[in-house]
């Protein structure tokens, strides 16, 4: 427990001390929140109602997809995992602790948004707080799971950027953050259902903000939870201490299995 606490404390401080992580955890999400909060309601008044869920989703996407994979790849390629292995740091800590510390950063950002959005932008607060917290946690874990999986299977920092952007950019365009899901054409809508952000916005709308959902909001929560579980299981299975000198337990291509819950969700929900 003592080791876990020291590891957690160090990783949490790194999230603030490291400039790149500070940017992804706080500066980018909060800067974007202020920018969108001031600009978007003037252009698109209904956006005011989506400020809290949409910018909360954005904060999680930035902190996880843009913040978690690269340090994992760098640590593995620079021999830090080898040093951890020698000193008895278990692989589960290497994957779980960045997940938990980034979650704490995301909670802080979400609190800032929830407290300030009604004051600054007259944004409505969630109606069902329990559902809001549940969706926050499941969406966070789904994104963190995907990010950890990207960090585990990517051969280099450049590859983490590619994989992360493959999720991040479509999430911004099609995930219902800037543009409602209902405005997407059919095929784009189906593709959007592969993205955790779409499910998070759908679940926030249907369960936390008590607005009309575009498809089953509980189905979205199930897809997010299943994605999170599968992503962490695959990351644990494919984890490698040293990409050059140890063999993985499975082919990195197995990582695409993480899309299964979302694909099944398209047909079920």
């Amino acid at each position: 427990m003592n080791s876990f606490l020291h590891h957690f404390a160090f990783e949490f401080r790194t999230g603030i001390r490291n400039k790149q992580m500070l940017l992804m955890n706080y500066l980018f999400p909060l800067g974007f929140y202020l920018l969108m909060g001031f600009i978007m309601p003037a252009i698109n008044p209904p956006f005011r109602e989506a400020i809290i869920p949409a910018l909360g989703v954005f904060a999680i996407l930035a902190a996880t997809l843009l913040g978690i994979p690269d340090p994992l790849v760098n640590a593995r390629e620079n021999g830090i995992f080898r040093s951890y292995k020698i000193n008895g740091v278990p692989s589960i800590s290497i994957l779980a602790i960045p997940t938990l510390t980034t979650m704490l950063h995301s909670i802080i950002v979400m609190l800032i948004i929830v407290v300030s959005a009604p004051l600054l932008f007259k944004a409505p607060l969630p109606v069902n707080w329990l559902a809001f917290v549940l969706i926050f946690v499941t969406f966070y874990l789904a994104c963190a799971g995907l990010s950890v999986l990207i960090g585990v299977v990517s051969a280099s920092s450049r590859m983490t950027v590619l994989w992360s952007q493959l999720i991040f950019v479509p999430s911004m365009l099609l995930g219902g953050l800037m543009l409602p899901y209902s405005m997407l054409p059919g095929v784009a809508g189906k593709f959007a259902q592969l993205l955790p952000a779409t499910h998070a916005m759908n679940a926030y709308n249907g369960l936390a903000m008590l607005k009309a959902a575009d498809f089953s909001p509980w189905g979205s929560v199930i897809v997010l939870a299943a994605t999170a579980l599968l992503a962490f299981a695959l990351a644990g299975f494919l984890f490698s201490w040293d990409s050059r000198n140890t063999t993985r337990r499975g082919n990195p291509l197995l990582a695409v299995l993480v899309l299964l819950p979302a694909i099944i969700g398209i047909f079920l929900f």
Binding site: S3, L5, T14, R82, S83, I86, N245
Partner: protein
Amino acid sequence: MSNQIIEIKDFRKTYGSHVAVESVSFDVNQGEIFGLLGPNGAGKTSTLECLEGLRQPNGGTMRVANLDPAKESHKLRNIIGVQLQSAGLPEAITPDEAMKFFCAYHNVAPRFDLLERLGLIPKKDTQFYELSAGQQRRLVLALAVAHNPKVVFLDEPTAGLDVASRVELHDLMRELQGQGTTIILATHDMAEAQELSDRVAILLNGQIVNTGTPLEITASGAGLTKISVRTQNGCLVNNTNNFPAVDQQKMKEDYCIYFSRDIGPTVSAIIAFIEKQADVLIDLRVERPSLEDRFLEITGKVGAK
């Protein structure tokens, strides 16, 4: 009862079709400083990393403190301490955090005394990437020994260190040895290996070509003693006569250097020659062959020095 804490027999390590280490066997006794010497690519790091449980051997057997590193690496963690060749610490970690972090995983109290001893207390809140190369190596060493391991593996421990830090590190190694710790030292620094090691093994192209105490290894070579002579008028410079028992000779700055199989007749003849030429002897140095000389001889580079 056997005193051996490390036993390696017919160890083999390959990377694809490349054989990095072949048929390596040696033992290390408890409390010994054992030097593993060899040029780059000789197989030192592969051998160490298999002993540390970081890589899997492709053949042979290895035992460290009666454990198989390949299968029981989790049990090995509190028994061994490792200073890797690469730093292996997160950029943002401070010495204070690193000490608390690793000691917590080893379930021991943080050893801030080691940070003090290695001159890192003034830098205890400085991030790892802001430390100098020498400070980084000292920190990694402090972390490697903080949990009082039975066996410490040091891979090029003094690379990048200044003279004072090297001396401090050597003192620490001797102190650890005095407490019964076994140290495996992989190094290019022959003077360091000769000074510290009880026994050394020389690896070349993945095989052990010589093993023994530094004295045994230096004595097992051609045994040429280096005699450096400088005179006032330089009478030896253009001397074409061979002195007795001299195998090689060369000039370096104002010194004539002779490599002799038998120093008595050689030195007598040189002094007699200088007197005969009415010259004056300014300096005469006799040096026994060092481990480095023997190493160069073994690796086929004798005379390059």
